[in-house]
Symmetry: D2
Subunit: 285 residues, 4 copies
């Protein structure tokens, strides 16, 4: 047995929930974010001896998030860049700062009232070192369903295969998509809006022979139309809808009545990217 | 010590998740429901001796939900009435059937594709006996926030009171509202749409001196405009947003940066009703 | 349409999470509670006009929980009684105070270190008015399973029945049990320990012909042995374990391999009580 | 913009919940597992054209889990190895199979009855290719608390730092630890028992100057005593317990009454390893 050493490590404040109201009289704007910070660098001392002299406390990180929110948030990608750059510059010990943000959407009722717009969340992950910065945008919990235009057949059968082939099934999933940008300056809101629109459109329009094919088509649609995105990673659970056998009750069921199962579920994960995408560096963590 | 006896009891199948697609060529419609059934009646034997001869199994209840869905669902209040009446009629032992439904909303992308429209759910609870029927509609997880027009002051102070008074706070809540109908025949979709619209409007427009006042105004608005509703019960957690003290950082904070807390939270529950409302009977369980 | 009036209402601070350490040198003791308070009474003014002059704020309620914890917690039933009596006495407006407590268990590692002892929680609900007090104890999330000694057959079959009868099934549930005490002074810890032990023992020993029979046997066992308990209410989901059909793979399955389903589930709820139990009054809410 | 290509991808059935009863008359044994499978390899065709001819369906994967459970489960590391090797051997397209297992613990009540032993779960992640195999064991949701023996001071202060230093705080966390084995044959149960015991012991005994120091001490203790483990990765949220300021009520609070906060929380992640550990290969995914 060799000696025992410290390996990779990081620490930070997770899930600081900040709500920022921008007031302009008759009409307020709100941003509702959950912000997580993770710092890596020269933190061996606190692990080995409890010497905290280089440890920017997680409480300070939380305070920093609130103080920076005071200056305005803007797009979450920019807010994350400002925070991550601050942490890298603040402490000689910090070699890498990663800021992950969930943006909870609200719809306006009137000038000062809002209603939560769904469980879907916009995402950003920003990673900075002293030399570089990487921006990943995205969304999660985008739940979609197709009642037609989905088949699944032609798969190999082994001794454990019982699944019947189908030319007509319900396809349902909860999309998590995260896209890497080629640069760190961009019209983030426009990119997000386009990406979301294209993902939905491709899900709806692509005739599906497998969830993998749908995933690829969604990613390809976003990459084709949004030049500033160089790579997109998607995770899509197959939320199974099983046709209920109503024949014991003397009833037919022509793909009309389904049982929506919770577990187990298929989980399809895939990456679509440009063949000339710059190196991902530390973008993905 | 007296003898030991069986008291109130009920049983049933909870959370059958049924998705019903209605197909008409270019355009499908979907209903996505979670249905729970609870039966009460003469079920002493199964408790006392394990004699199940009067127990309509919960598996049968689940099958019944799927079979009834085959005939079409329509509005959830009607679907619940059909189910509850069936269970009362099906078995001499069943004296009361209660069917509770959550309706998960979808928005249309195109003719055959849909995107989940938020975490908000429409609710119905239908209770039937051999002699009567009661219908309760509602909604839950309607998350709303006001960035202005909310005060809280004038409360008594005892030795444990530290809360500062405020003329300007964020008011945020997740509304659960359930409304009792006077009858069992109605344009349920119209009532639901009106109730939701009026609750949102009252939340936004009512200048709030307390969350209780807001709750009452919301219920009153619905009752005033929707004659078929005779009572409305609301549960509204006060999702606290605390102003962050930025003064240690040399920053002001004029109600712009808030910390959204998870727990503890205020919980405000109240009923608004007509003074001539018919007796609630078994409506509320 | 009649006039519109305020009906039943209550408010309070929910889920104040307090941890109390009692220090005695080499050995600390901890209590880890989530405390919810609900007050009812003469609160029409805040609903109708926003006049808060009788509203003991939920923030004050939270502070009170912490301040009372300073004096020591002891058994949660006693802690709840002290709190509920305080709230009734503190404000002329409060006609009923209900305090609900979840007690999160820890096991000792050594004098100052502890490990969480499961997801099971001990419960208490204490209700006080100016004239009376009611104590309900209990537990929740007590997950149990029997691999033998459970049958289910002899139920009626209608056109929607497909469930095969079985003389041997897995029986699994997550017990929530709440028991009403006849008085307000008692050795609460002993009662709790006995009730939990007897519930487990009856679940294990009772040969089960239905989950209802098991539920009744569990409640009866507790009532027979614990004179200070006069009524017990139980809620027991039937966590279905389905035998997997392995015959397509040329394998038998003699009740050995099961699929544990999440939803839907049976839900069995029942009350067992003494026939001379005093009136429940406001005990159950 | 370059061409668009498929990048990393994997798919599989997640969270198959299998319960296996081993019967031997007076005494049954149970294993209660959630098993997730993820396969990677030559799956471009299904993404690009929907050609599923190489796609071992996730339904088949689920069936395989149940069928393999029929032959007995044993230790989860071995069960995972059997499954992962099967998937790699079953299909020429599969280049890497990863099986992740959560083992839900039960305590025996008697020969055929069991009670869930906490929310803590044992973990295993097994990864196989045609040429190699890697085994990672672990546990999650091991919630621990120290009421003494924890300090936090000596950290740098910047303009956003407000945290007071402390020589006496509550330290609480929910440990997730995953340890990599040097080989694929081992007495897994013994290793698990030892690792769990040593992690708890180090948490309790190590006087803590930071949660990072505690994490390192825990990992070091496991590595020192368990030669078959070559690396351990830990994730430990700092579950903050804040001393409640009772001075407004004229009360002292000498670290006795705490508010247990939910969010935000510190998140400490670190690796402890042997300096001669073999290359991790695909162990960690």
């Amino acid at each position: 047995m060799g000696g025992i050493v410290l390996g990779d490590n990081q620490y930070g404040k997770a899930e600081t929930h900040v709500v920022r109201v921008t007031r302009s009289g008759a009409r307020d704007d709100i941003k509702d974010l959950t912000v997580s910070v993770a710092l890596a660098g020269d933190f061996a001392a606190t692990h080995l001896t409890g010497d905290n002299s280089r440890v920017l406390t997680t409480d300070t990180q939380k305070n920093t998030v609130f103080a920076f929110a005071r200056e305005g948030i803007g797009e979450i990608e920019d807010f994350g860049l400002r925070l991550a750059r601050h942490f890298v510059g603040e402490s000689g010990a910090v070699e890498r700062a990663r800021v992950t943000i969930e943006d909870h959407p609200w719809e306006r009722i009137d000038g000062h009232a809002f209603v939560r717009a769904g469980s879907e969340k916009r995402l950003a992950t920003i990673t900075c070192t002293k030399d570089g910065a990487w921006v990943v945008g995205g969304l999660t919990d985008l739940v979609v369903l197709k009642s037609a235009g989905s088949e699944f057949w032609g798969y190999p059968r082994d001794r454990y295969t019982t699944l019947p082939e189908t030319k007509d099934r319900i396809l349902a999933t909860a999309v998590t998509a995260r896209w890497r940008f080629g640069g760190t300056q961009n019209d983030w809101a426009r990119s997000f809006g386009e990406a979301r629109r294209l993902l939905l459109e491709a899900f709806a329009q692509k005739h599906s022979l497998s969830l993998q094919q749908t995933l690829y088509a969604m990613g390809e649609a976003a990459l084709k139309a949004i030049p500033e995105i160089v790579e997109i990673r998607m995770s899509m659970p197959n939320k199974h809808h099983f046709v209920v056998d109503l024949s014991p009750f003397g009833l037919t069921n022509e793909n009309e009545v389904f049982y929506a199962a919770d577990r187990p579920y298929g989980l399809i994960e895939g990456t679509v990217m440009r063949d000339d995408a710059p190196d991902a560096g530390l973008a993905w963590g």
